[in-house]
Symmetry: C2
Subunit: 552 residues, 2 copies
């Protein structure tokens, strides 16, 4: 039996577009004598549809388009495709998260998801009832165990040590094994995490070895606002060897022969798992490209400060959108060093990006004059620093409004964590590119871009970081060095360790308390940040929900 | 048996503060010969703790303080208090949402929540395993059926017609009835919704009548960032009469005699359910007061435009914080009408609020001059309107930064829905007061404030709404009249009706499509709005999760 894994990039709610993509894949599969085409979880509408699942018209459309897709099948070719299904029982959630088996022009059978992830970015129990009945699909003489994403994740490898690995009281694979299947097929929408590429693969190889069965895994690919899906679909032999791996962050299509897989004869795969920083760069570029592409925007702007964050953001945007679609502003103030402008000009020259210089001093002076009746002779403080940041935000948004491009936010995760940024100033933008990337990784990304030649001027990488909002300001005036800060932040945010446990890593308890205090106090700022491209297991945004008003 | 309902306002994570409040209530109860004191759901930490529940140190503190609270009990007085509990089983979510029965100095028994709301603002399955074992508490010769909030809501009265009423496959009350209880006790954290005060009460009276038992309901009170809990705890007789109702939006304490309740002899209650607009005003004032109070801020600022939204926001803030803690700015431009300033000055005089006038024209001119090299002679458009709004936002934030007060956002739900507002301009602020109040209700709130004398100048209420960002602009230039707009919005947002079903209400399908298109297109703006005080069943914010990038 020849099975095709169709790894596609869906656009949420674009039923006609998604259908066309899938029809093309079926046509290609058909011409190559494929028996079964496998798409991904909730492919008919794209994942995650969120509260669109609460709308009757949305579910009706899903069902209609599943039926349309069924019409491209004939007796020789079948399709497995994810979509929501009305729960036929009178009690429980209204929907199941299901896989439809389509064959010979119609829906033949439906399989339902049992393990519904409801943690971090996942909200599936908000919409779906969990399946409790298990059966296999018999097709062309083979018995196929159909599972959906989390169904294989009965043991979770969480980074937070306090989380437990066994979140569920059922185990769908154990139940399915009673029907003696020939293969495990998994339709997934499994988001990217830069420390988890190997871990994720080991879940699938582990199941193959445990049950002595081949595993086929078809993942969604592409960016869905903040969520990035890496693709990397897999065909695994019963001994746990990766026989086929599809591309990362691109659509791909691969055919495997089930008998070859079972007999371990399948050819070894050639697509490699990229290293961590390369994967991160690819993920972020994919996130930018799809955010713009799906919204039907072509061009972006951002403010180049001469620092490393805006430089790396620009390099990523250039890769994603093309340098010809970028128009950046240099917005120097009286506190900006000359090298900030020079370094930025060298960078835009290297990349071939259009830039303009708009000094902000005259607008700043006018603000100060307008506020004089209120402020009198009060000393300068953070207020005046914030005014500079907000003037820059206003100028960038003016460019965005006038020419119809989207402002990219350049804040990194370290500064977002401790609140080192100005709301409505440098925290503005339609999309945050680096908001889930710690400063130490921003440096590694810069070096990655310079791996072949110097794209990002070396001086940007080597000079000490500064916001340049007052004379001779340095980030280290108020923060510890980033290599220390980032370790503390990751221990607190990703691993959710207590002050005491972070102290066991060798940091000063007073420093830890100060840092954690800053993180907690600035929850209110992060509430209003743009969507952040998520590359870690715990990003700021939808997957991290903390009270703004709390004592902890 | 004398039972006290202790309706308190908790501060999330302030274990010592919450404990002190509860100890005071127990002391008072003890002095009045009470046998059992009932607090609310997750009272030990305050509701909703959100992802703090994922932290080991947080759960450990909860358990520690439950034990501390137990020490104030003796053999004569018991306590029912909500708190998280470690799940002793090896599989399933790590926690239960539980009620601890404390007596004679220690924890005697634990009861667990069965129905875990996971919709709208609720995320309980994110943290908790559902209970499946049912038992009653036997105490001083009575059999008490202990339930937690949603446990009584096995049938849901959702506004969205597509939602189903029976979300759960278990029914805890039916199971508890097998143990023949004498009373149903419900510990709750049930948020306010302005159209649901009667509906909520009918859930409790309905259960009393159905089972022929008294029902005691103890709700949390107070604001928790966007969520508002109205209190209004209840004691209901077996025939469904309300024998006691505690206050709305205030802490309260009430003692009932269980035997009197059973024999229908309990005195009739005196606290009345306020009408819809009065309740809304009380809810919003409570939300402002608690947001500031818990964050330890005293003073607020806002921009007075001369329109009704900022006027009503100011009246609410004045009630919540006192006029002496407000300092507002009038920020006229060349497009502002003279009556805008005059009306605003009359309003601040009526309320006794400090105000300053800062014209924005000179800063605006400087922005235009700075942008001239980029914009050349391109015609004016939305860009220049947004610059005005962002100058105002920057000036208001400067005041906030310099003097340490919080900027209140004045956008209403109608304009927030259709994206009629400027990000980083008038959409700025620490808290959105009216973001869940449709414009037509903003007018009713204004009339409510004027019920005794004219607080809000009548001209503000009667003049046609305008953003005054260009000459002679009116809201109706681009929007239908608000009475029509609000009906369409409520049908789409709260009831989640399709275009076709909204058209059945008598509106033009093209108009409906245009309005719905505006709502959908502006999801990205709402992503970055401040937290919105929630007074409806479907507010923008945490309870409404829609993809920013989607076609629908």
């Amino acid at each position: 039996m020849k099975i095709a894994l169709a790894q596609l990039n869906y656009y949420i709610g674009d039923f006609q577009g998604n259908l066309s993509r899938m029809e093309d894949a079926v046509q290609r599969a058909s011409s190559e004598g494929v028996d079964l085409v496998v798409f991904s979880e909730l492919a008919i509408c794209g994942y995650p549809p969120l509260d669109l699942l609460e709308r009757e018209d949305f579910i009706t459309s899903c069902n209609l388009y599943i039926e349309k897709l069924a019409r491209v099948t004939d007796p020789e070719i079948g399709i497995l495709v994810g979509g929501p299904e009305f729960n036929p029982h009178k009690e429980g959630k209204l929907l199941f998260n299901s896989v439809y088996f389509l064959n010979d022009g119609s829906i033949k059978q439906v399989f339902r998801k049992s393990l519904l992830p409801t943690y971090d970015i996942f909200d599936e129990y908000r919409y779906f009832e969990a399946n409790r009945e298990f059966k296999v699909l018999t097709y062309k003489g083979k018995r196929l165990a159909i599972t959906i994403c989390e169904d294989l994740w009965d043991e979770q490898p969480f980074e937070n040590e306090f989380s437990r690995s066994r979140l569920y009281t059922t185990n769908p694979l154990e139940s399915l094994m009673e029907s003696k299947p020939d293969v495990i097929i998994n339709l997934a929408a499994s988001p990217f995490s830069h420390r988890k590429m190997e871990v994720k693969q080991s879940v699938f190889t582990g199941k193959a070895i445990r049950y002595g069965l081949p595993v086929l895994y078809c993942n969604q690919v592409g960016g869905q606002t903040e969520l990035l899906f890496e693709g990397g679909s897999l065909a695994i032999t019963p001994s746990g060897k990766v026989a086929r791996r599809l591309k990362f962050f691109q659509e791909d299509f691969g055919i495997v022969d089930l008998n070859d897989l079972i007999s371990e004869k399948a050819p070894q795969n050639t697509v490699k798992i990229p290293d961590r920083i390369e994967a991160m760069a690819n993920a972020l570029e994919c996130g930018i490209r799809d955010y713009f592409g799906k919204l039907n925007f072509k061009s972006a702007t951002l403010g180049l400060s001469g620092g490393i964050d805006s430089a790396v953001t620009l390099a990523l945007a250039s890769g994603a959108l093309g340098p010809e679609n970028l128009h950046v502003l240099l917005l120097p103030s009286q506190y900006s060093s000359t090298h900030s402008v020079d370094d930025s000009l060298e960078l835009v020259k290297n990349l071939g990006v259009k830039s303009d210089i708009l000094p902000i001093e005259s607008v700043f002076d006018q603000f100060i004059e307008s506020l004089h009746p209120l402020f009198g002779d009060l000393p300068e403080d953070i207020t005046e620093e914030n005014i500079q940041a907000r003037i820059r935000g206003t100028l960038l948004m003016a460019l965005s409004n006038k020419f119809g491009n989207i402002l990219l936010n350049t804040s990194n995760k370290s500064e977002t964590a401790v609140g080192y940024g100005t709301l409505y100033g440098d925290m503005s933008g339609g999309l945050s590119v680096l908001g889930d990337v710690y400063k130490t990784d921003v440096y590694l990304l810069a070096r990655y871009f310079n791996r072949k030649k110097e794209v990002i001027p070396n001086h940007i990488i080597t000079k000490p970081p500064s916001a340049e909002l007052r004379p001779d300001q340095k980030d280290t005036d108020s923060l510890p060095p980033y290599d220390q800060l980032d370790q503390i932040l990751e221990a607190y945010i990703e691993k959710q360790l207590s002050t005491e446990k972070v102290a066991e890593m060798g940091f000063d308890p007073d420093l830890i308390r100060r840092i954690i205090g800053m993180v907690n106090k600035n929850e209110y700022k992060r509430y209003q940040t743009p969507p952040i491209l998520r590359i870690s297991s715990k990003a700021f945004g939808v997957g991290r929900r903390l009270p703004l008003v709390a004592k902890y």
